[in-house]
Every structure is written in C-alpha cells, then in structure tokens.
Amino acid sequence: MSKQVMTYAEGINLAMHQCMTLSDDVICYGLGVDDPKAIFGTTAGLVEKFGSSRVFDMPTAENGMLGVGVGAAINGLKPVMVHQRLDFFLLAMDQLVNSAAKWFYMFGEQQSVPLTIRLMLGRGWGQGPTHSQNLQAWFAHIPGLKVVMPSTPNDAKGMLAASIFDPNPVVFIEHRWLHHQEGEVDLSIEYFEPLDKAKVIRHGDDITIIALSYQVVEARRAAKALAENGIDAEIIDLRAIQPIDWETVTTSIRRTGRLLAVDTGMTTCSVSSEIVSTISEACFDNLKCAPKRLAMKDMPEPTSYGLTRGLYHGAFEIAKLVHEMVKGKDSEQLYSELKVNGNHDVPGDWFKGPF
C-alpha cells in the first residue's frame, strides 16, 4: 500500500480524481470549480480529465443549485457541490434541511440522496462577521445529515471518498487553515475512512482533549508542551460530528476522568456543548473535575486586525486550561512559548489572503 506526503488540499484533489474515475455517476460543480484557482487547488485537473458535463461552474444560486443536486442525486448521480465559503451556503437551508436531510425518511425509505456538500470555513485575515462563520452545529442538529470535519490530509482524502459513495447527504467541512497542512496519504484508489468514527491520535492518562478540524492541530501542539510539564493528555480527533462516535469518547473519558472539548464554533449550542452535556450524563461518576469547553465567544467576528487580537484560541489557551484542570493552578508562564508569535490572524506568515 503506497503512501505519499501531500497537503490536505492535494488529498482532496486526489480523492476527487479517484472517485470520478471509479464512477461515471460522480459529478462536481460549484462556483469556481473550473476556474484558474480551482478552489485552492482542490478541483485542479478535473474538468480537463472528466469533461465539462461532469465538472462545471454554476449560476450564483446556492439554494436552487443545491436543489438541482438533490434532484440529480435521486435520479442516479452522486453530485459533489463545492462552496468556497460556508456563509454563502446559508442561502441553501431550504434544500438542505427540507429536502436533502428529509428525503429518505419522509418517503418511507425508498429513495436515498447520495450528495456531498463541501463547505469551507475559516478564521482571521479580516474575514469578519459574514465570511468566517463556523456553523457546523447547525448542520449536526438536522437528523438525516452526516457531518464530518476531517483534520488530516489522509482523513480528508479517505473521508471525502466515503462521503461521495455514502448513500446519504454528507456535509463535508474543510477549515481553510488546514488546506496547506502536510501529511502522509494512502494512495489506494478505493481508500475509505469511516464517517462515524473518532480517532484517538495521542494516548494519555490525565485528560481527554476532544478537538475537531483545525483545533486538532492546536491540540497536538498543546499536548507536546503539556507532556514537558508532566501532564499526559489523550487527544481525540472527533472527525465526525454527526453522528458522534460516543463509544470512543466515553471509553477515553471513563479512563482519564477529565474532559476538555475544543471547538472552532461559537460556544452556545455548539458541538463542544453537546460533548460536555452528553459526557456529564453518561460519565458523571467518572469525572474528577468539571468538564470544560473552549469555543469562540458568542459574538459576530469583527474584521479589524486590532479588534481580533485575543479572539482566537489555540495551543496556548488549550495548554493553560488543561494545566489548571489537571494540576489546579495557574500556569501561564509554563506555556508562553505556545503563544502566537507574530500575526494572530494567519496560520503562518506565508499566508497572504485574500481568503
């Protein structure tokens, strides 16, 4: 089984090529899928290889075009619809909630809707109130939708392929700060990662950190620094937020007795809220301290570089909070090397926007 190091965006691109090769029923459309930038490279080469009837740009009509995807899916195709920013996809809620999510149940299990919706979200670079929303919890609230947020290139590839060939509608969420991340990827053409399994990516005994999407990257950094200070953190990459893999989550927390849920979304009614409430119900007797959430403040994200200072949380905030939960004391100075060194609004100084 050959593997290769590539970026998250390249992993997605490889999955698209392989899936479109595996089945003529797979089509790919969205604003810009065939333009020179090819959705951050994720759709590069598709139109050249598979033709403009299967890979096409579309009118600026999010709701109508999602409905078209539902119709195409119930008539035998496996559409992959792409949105460069989640915020625009809010125009498509009728088709997502009333059509895609309901069709299979509502018509007595006669017709499934094999549809994949790729949504990109992010933070920073002045994306501001309407270009940076992390609304994964909305989608997870709708029965009938599968919702995944892979964090590694390998999971991005394997879970996108699994989403495309899943009979249900899948909301596939990519964080913009992950597209450049590198990792080893399984090159097999039929490589599928499950859509309902979390993954323990670091074993530890003192606390369970449950992270999703880009926060997995930050949690890894935090765990390394925590280890140097005698705290052994277990990290679970949630990967799927609907359905959540409660077995993996509860097994870990029953052992560690502590929970920190790290989210990219706003706090109230978030995925991290769901984890804390379910764990409080299921593992109350195992908990050594109150479970915590680390999520965004309940406020619109401002645009100004000056105003977003201190808004985002990362490895430093995670490590500081974990230290307090495990050792019960202030530890700020122990983790100061994790603080953002330089610009707080980019994943690295190489990032020059505009998105």
């Binding site: 089509i27 009837s53 299967r54 579309m58 009118p59 009509a61 709701n63 109508g64 075009m65 999602l66 409905g67 078209v68 995807g69 539902v70 119709g71 195409a72 899916a73 119930i74 008539n75 035998g76 195709l77 009728d94 088709q95 009333n98 059509s99 069709w103 299979f104 149940y105 509502m106 018509f107 007595g108 299990e109 006669q110 017709q111 499934s112 094999p114 029965p143 009938g144 599968k146 009979p167 249900n168």
Partner: protein, 329 residues
C-alpha cells in the same frame, strides 16, 4: 375536436378527471371524521391540467410536485390505494405514513415526490433533468408549481439554470389566483403574466385555459414537443381555480378573501361538466359511456378508502429507525 386525440384518449382524460374529482370529494366528505390527521390540500376544480398530462407523459418522464399534489400523483399513474393509505397515516401508504398528504411518491410510475414548502421541488425537478441529460436518458422532467411559487427566488434560480444548460424540463404552472388567502393582485404586478416573466428568463412559454381540455392539450403538447426536440426547457401557465379552501375539506367563500360571485363564475366553467358537454356535442362519447366511467371510478375510489381505513398503522416502536440509508437506493 383535435386530430391528435382519439376517442379513447378523450375517454381516458375524462376518466382521470373523474378519478381526481371523486377522490378529492371522498376525502372532503370523510375528513371531518378525524381519521385523516394531516394537512390536506384538495384539487377540486383543477382536474383538467393533470388529466390532460396523464395522456402526454409516460413512465420515462419524471415528475415532482407541491403541497397540492393528489391530482398530479394520480395523473402520473400513482397508486390510489397507497395515496389514500398515506393520508390516513398507514403502513401501506406510499411513504409508509412518514409523509402524509403533502409527501407523495410512486417511483414505479416516475412520480419522484411532492413536498410541502412552496417552490421546494422546482430545482429538484431541474436536477432530475440534469441527470437525464448527463446520462443521456429518454424522457423529460415535469415540475408542477402554482402561481405563488413563481414569487420564490428559487423559481428564478431554477429556470435560469434550466435555460443555461438547455435541460429537458417542463414547468407546469397552475395559476389558481390565490396563495392561501392572498390574491394575485397583491403579489404580482398587474399586466405582467407568469408566462411573460418565464419567457424573459429563457423558457419557451405558453398559456392555456386550464379548465379546458383542448386548450390545455394544445399548450402542453406544444411545450413537450419543444423540449423533446432538444430546444430547451418550457413553461405552461394554465389558469384555473380551486373550489375549496386552501387546506381542508370546506368551502370558504364566506370568510371574505374572495367572493361567492367569483366562485360561481368559475364553477360555471367546471372543467368536468364543460368537457362532458363537449364530448356529447361532438358525439365522441354517449351519456351511457360517461355514466359507466363514473360508476367504475366510484367503485375504485370506494374500495381504495376501504383499503386505507382497514390498513394497519406503522409500528411506532420503529419511529426513529431509518433516518439514514444503509446502502444506496
């Protein structure tokens, strides 16, 4: 009357009109008993358009529809027993009781589903047509919609895309003048017809008297021919009138949003009695033939109600199962 239609075609259209009318009146009669426990939108007065389409479409053609879809489902060939059982919430219903009156489906005849949100199935019908084009399948997609749905943004979005991609889709717009209690006058500018609007969006557009079989047939068959010749999507606007309240079994001319006089004027243009007169006048059918059809339909409808009433409810213990599909269907 029309060289494209044989005497048998006329009788088939008549029978379909009777089937729709008697089914809807049968629901209206029984609804107050409280056994059909879901919002139900009847098509009494609007039988002509679906009945004409029942002669023009085959099972290769796929259709989607709206909250008021009983007539469309039946005209596409949908199973009557399964429809009534669905409205009664029974296991034998076409959606196994999960959907009710507003969520009908009969895939065996190409009726791909009706849904409750105004305009919701318009893009879905366009998607059916897109898949047909990509897979090079025979047949067209048919989208049933009302006048209110043309006010939704998604109508514009869908018509636009259908025109851009030249998709084989027919929009059948039954204009019954009211969106619930809101008349067309307060919803759309005077002097701008729906067909005119759709024509400017790039759809080949036709208008017809939706209570008249010949007028409807001429417009719908022209539109279908246009699509089958590969010339792109089309819309037909058919004027008609619903006799009963928006949702439910009663007449509601007394509550003040429309007048008894207006209703009576439309009732004079009852599509069924007008068609009967034309058939008898043109000697295409005898009174006896028409009565025989009525009796056949009466028996069919009565037996379907018995089937629905006697069918079991689904088991509530499995109410939360099958939210997700395990394998593709």
């Amino acid at each position: 009357m029309n060289t494209q239609l044989s005497s048998l075609d006329y009788l088939a259209i008549y029978k379909m009109m009777q089937l729709i009318r008697q089914t809807e009146l049968g629901i209206a009669e029984r609804y107050p008993k409280g056994q059909m426990r879901c919002p139900t939108h009847l098509s009494v007065g609007q039988e002509c358009t679906p009945a004409v389409l029942s002669k023009l479409l085959t099972h290769q053609d796929l259709a989607v529809s709206t909250h008021r879809s009983h007539a469309h489902y039946l005209a596409k060939g949908g199973d009557l027993n399964a429809m009534l059982a669905e409205i009664y919430g029974k296991e034998t219903g076409c959606s196994k009781g999960r959907g009710g009156s507003m969520h009908l489906i009969d895939q065996s005849v190409g009726f791909k589903g009706s849904t409750a949100i105004v305009g919701n199935t318009i893009p879905i019908g366009v998607g059916l047509a897109l898949a047909k084009k990509i897979k090079q399948e025979q047949g067209i997609a048919v989208v049933f919609l009302g006048d209110g749905a043309t006010e939704e943004g998604v109508f514009y979005e869908s018509a636009n895309f259908a025109a851009v991609q030249s998709l084989p889709v027919l929009f059948v717009c039954e204009n019954n003048l009211y969106s619930v209690y809101s008349s067309l006058d307060v919803r759309q500018p005077k002097g701008r017809g729906i067909a005119e609007l759709s024509s400017s969006l790039g759809l080949a557009s036709f208008t017809a008297d939706g209570n008249n079989v010949l007028s409807s047939h001429t417009a719908l068959s022209s539109a279908i021919l246009h699509i089958k010749q590969g010339k792109g999507p089309a819309l037909v606007e058919l004027s008609t009138y619903r006799w009963l309240e928006h949702c439910g079994p009663h007449y509601d001319n007394d509550i003040g949003y429309r007048t008894e006089q207006e209703f009576l004027a439309w009732k004079d243009r009852d599509p069924i009695s007008c068609f009967e007169s034309e058939l008898l006048f043109s000697v295409l059918a005898t009174q006896t033939q028409l009565e025989e059809i009525q009796i056949q339909v009466q028996k069919q409808v009565k037996s379907a109600f018995t089937f629905a009433e006697q069918s079991p409810f689904p088991d509530y213990k499995v109410q939360d199962q099958n939210v997700f599909a395990r394998s593709g269907l």
